[in-house]
């Protein structure tokens, strides 16, 4: 390597540069408070006043805590007042100390700049040699150096150290993943005959209720009977958007001729990009927009992607109408809903296949 070495060996502390001499520190202009006793006294008074302001702020905060606090609970205005006045009191208490101390430092403390030498961080050669020698001695003492290599000892120690954490880590990691049954992604609460119900109150929906231009946010009937934990986890997969279009506008997808009912279609509400609820339905364009990353799906054309980062259409829920006029699912979704993952196309089991036919 023959790159030019920029040396740091210098003769004096103030090295010349590009042939110019370093002129040294410039003229130190005295402050008004240095030369004028009146200015000095004035600065002192200002600092004291700022500290006084701080004490006042503390009083404001404590006053606000005790006196604004007993108003109508839940009243938005009184919550706002308590927080605002405690906050403003805290602000004054803090800023008074801060400005006062800094003003003191700026006007009253000596401000002559001083110079201190730096020392190269590199240890001296002597220290380095000493360090190496000490390590060598240590290795010698341990018996690992010198003639006896003791490779078996070294190897066994390294192996033991390397695998020792596993005894803790394996159970730890193993327990943290719950049951590790990732095939749950493939199933939702939908199945043959499950009624479509309104989110969040769970009232079942009649086909006649879904007028053209309507959008219903849908959960499977019975979801709300689950306990909270299962409700949330199942809802995260099962939410559906139900829309009725003019049948003339609807392009029926091949193989899905009987999945809709008189212009009523149901699609999963979970985005195929990273899983936000896709919920912004524009009834004039029939476009569904995801507010998170703006994937746009065309509901009139199989919920195909027309803009944005998603690649796949939203999964469609095949629907029918039961004898009482309620909309029901014909089956579960025929693919895992939501974002893509590595083995989403690898059938974990056959139930999905069976249900969709």
């Amino acid at each position: 390597m023959s790159a030019p070495e920029h040396s740091t060996e210098h003769e004096t502390d103030l090295d010349p540069m590009n042939g110019h001499e370093n002129p040294g520190l410039g003229y130190h202009r005295p402050r008004r408070s240095d030369v004028d006793d009146k200015a000095d006294k004035k600065a002192e008074r200002q600092v004291a006043a700022l500290f006084g302001l701080s004490a006042l702020g503390t009083v404001v905060a404590i006053w606000a805590y005790f006196s604004l606090n007993d108003i109508d609970p839940g009243d938005v205005d009184s919550i706002r007042q308590v927080n605002m006045w405690i906050g403003i009191g805290t602000f004054l208490a803090m800023i008074g100390i801060g400005l006062g101390a800094i003003h003191w430092a700026k006007t009253l403390m000596r401000d002559h700049e001083m110079t201190e030498d730096r020392h190269e961080l590199r240890s001296s050669d002597e220290a380095r040699e000493g360090a190496i020698q000490n390590l060598k001695d240590g290795v010698e003492d341990s018996g690992l150096g010198g003639a006896k290599r003791r490779s078996v000892l070294k190897g066994s120690l390294i192996t033991a150290l390397a695998i020792a954490p596993l005894g803790i880590l394996v159970p730890q990691i193993g327990n943290m993943g719950g049951d590790w049954n990732v095939s749950k992604f493939r199933h939702t609460l939908w199945g043959p005959g499950v009624r479509l119900a309104r989110d969040p109150d769970g009232a079942p929906i009649r086909a006649a209720d879904v007028t053209i231009g309507s959008v219903f946010h849908v959960i499977p009937e019975g979801l709300n009977d689950l306990d909270h934990h299962h409700l949330i986890s199942e809802k995260a997969k099962a939410v559906v958007l139900l829309v009725r279009l003019d049948p003339a506008d609807l392009k029926i997808q091949e193989g899905r001729e009987d999945w809709s009912f008189d212009g009523i279609v149901a699609y999963s509400k979970i985005c195929t990009h990273v899983g936000c609820p896709v919920a912004l339905y524009e009834q004039q364009t029939h476009h569904l927009l995801c507010p998170c990353h703006q994937s746009t799906f065309d509901v009139a054309d199989g919920a195909k992607v027309v803009f944005g980062p998603a690649k796949r259409p939203l999964p469609q829920l095949p629907i029918a109408v039961d004898d009482d006029g309620y909309i029901v699912a014909q089956a579960d979704f025929d693919e895992p809903i939501g974002p893509s993952y590595w083995d989403r196309l690898k059938g974990g089991d056959a139930t999905v296949e069976e249900e969709s036919h």
Binding site: R29, R31, R32, V76, D77, D199, D209, V215, A279, Y281
Partner: protein, 261 residues
Amino acid sequence: MHSIARRRHHRAAPLLLVLALLALITGIAAIAAPTPATATTEASAEDVADGERLFAANCASCHGLDAQGQDGVAPSLVGVGAAAVDFQVGTGRMPMQASGPQAPAKPVQFSDEQIAQLAAWVASLGAGPAIPTAEQVDPELGDAANGMLVFRTNCAMCHGSIGGGGALTQGKFAPSLLETTPTHIYEAMLTGPQSMPVFNDANVTPEQKRDVIAYLDFQSNGSPGGLSLGAIGPVSEGMWAWIVLLGLIIASTIWVGARSS
């Protein structure tokens, strides 16, 4: 009848000074004057006749004399009901002045009486949703907590969590609801104007609609935390953190670093 705008104005008074200083930075819109609420009365035959004349003079050039609409220009108004007319004309969206991604709210062009007459005539063309009664839109009778649940499931994705508004595709947008009268909110749900879907009574029941109105009305109390920065979420918060918070602190570092005179 309630005006969300008026109460909001009043309660925010102590903080208005700061708001005025900083509104420039975030572009928080000025608070508009409250829109007068629409009365609902039974329409007489004269009203219908007057409405027809008003329609012929102001609306027929696009919607046609018989209100059948023109393809690609304006929709048919047969069967849209009085509620649609009251909403579209009462918020100034109609008559439309210029074509654009969508018809925005503008200063209202007609008096309350004229709007009632227009609505009466259009309602006479075919059955459609009627203008809600004062009781149907009274926020005092609604359940704000249930309104929150209904609103966030059906409305918040477009209008924002408390109705501050939001963007749709291709330049369209869901308007802010913070200045909208309860009647117009109700009518919009019922009729689904422009991009907005219809939320008929089987989807969002009349009680739930009133709950939504109660939820939105509650927002006129302002935010318990102080000024709301437009209530549009973390983006405006982040911008304020940089401009106001960091800005003030960096300004103070410059003072700290400057030599005293």
